[in-house]
């Protein structure tokens, strides 16, 4: 079963309209949890994030990049940085700041490994990653406006 993996911006921008159905289907990226919690200092908030992580872990839906994911992600960063030939679109422009995409690449890579798909409101960065990784990307607007 394919599952949505929400990018960090989805939790921030769509938190008020997420339904129980949306929540029950999702998998959580460790990278997204890191981004959400890195600015948290309040103890009670930490407890809530901790319980959240445990709930995903128990269902085997907590996606943590393993050594293979790190290796493949580094290759993708390199290909984007030096503008290597992509899977489907020929040569892509060089991007010296490709390292900034590291977190998004980890989200995409761990979703890809499980045959899940990424839901994001930042399509442009993920489209660039998609040129080197055959992962399905869905815009958050489309996802939350569909009935399925």
């Amino acid at each position: 079963m394919s599952r949505p993996v929400f990018d960090m911006n989805v939790f921030i921008e769509y938190e008020s309209i997420m339904t129980e159905k949306d929540i029950s289907k999702t998998a959580l990226s460790a990278v997204v949890l890191y981004e959400l919690t890195a600015t948290t200092i309040d103890k009670s908030r930490w407890q809530k994030y901790t319980a959240w992580r445990k709930a995903f872990t128990k269902l085997d839906r907590f996606l943590v990049p393993n050594s293979n994911d790190w290796w493949e992600s580094s290759k993708i960063v390199s290909r984007i940085r030096f503008g290597e030939k992509s899977v489907s679109k020929g040569k892509t422009p060089k991007l010296p700041d490709a390292q900034k995409l590291q977190n998004d690449i980890h989200i995409a890579r761990t979703a890809y490994a499980k045959k899940f798909f990424v839901v994001t409101s930042n399509l442009s960065d993920f489209r660039r990653i998609q040129q080197f990784l055959n992962v399905e990307i869905v815009s958050a607007e489309e996802y939350f406006n569909s009935d399925s």
């Binding site: 960090m8 911006n9 939790f11 921030i12 938190e15 008020s16 997420m18 129980e20 929540i23 029950s24 981004e35 959400l36 600015t39 948290t40 908030r45 809530k48 994030y49 319980a51 959240w52 445990k54 709930a55 995903f56 128990k58 269902l59 839906r61 991007l95 700041d97 490709a98 900034k100 995409l101 998004d104 930042n122 442009s124 960065d125 660039r128």
Partner: protein, 65 residues
């Protein structure tokens, strides 16, 4: 005989969502725990948004490339 008053934390008197879902039988215990903990985290995220905690991160996110 004295009646027992059951306290309900919801302002409108409705049952919590996971209780209603249990009654419907649509979700496993683990999925209900996922829904309950996610709801709690979404409230935290909402407060963090109000505090402007994510502003810098989102600005960075939008200007990565």
């Amino acid at each position: 005989m004295e009646k027992i008053q059951i306290k309900n934390d919801n302002k409108n008197g409705a049952k919590p969502i996971w209780e209603r879902l249990i009654e419907k039988g649509n979700y496993t215990e683990d999925e209900l725990e996922l829904i309950r903990t996610t709801r709690a985290v979404l409230k935290v995220i909402h407060k963090q948004k109000e505090e402007g905690v994510f502003d810098e991160i989102l600005n960075r996110e939008n200007s990565k490339i």
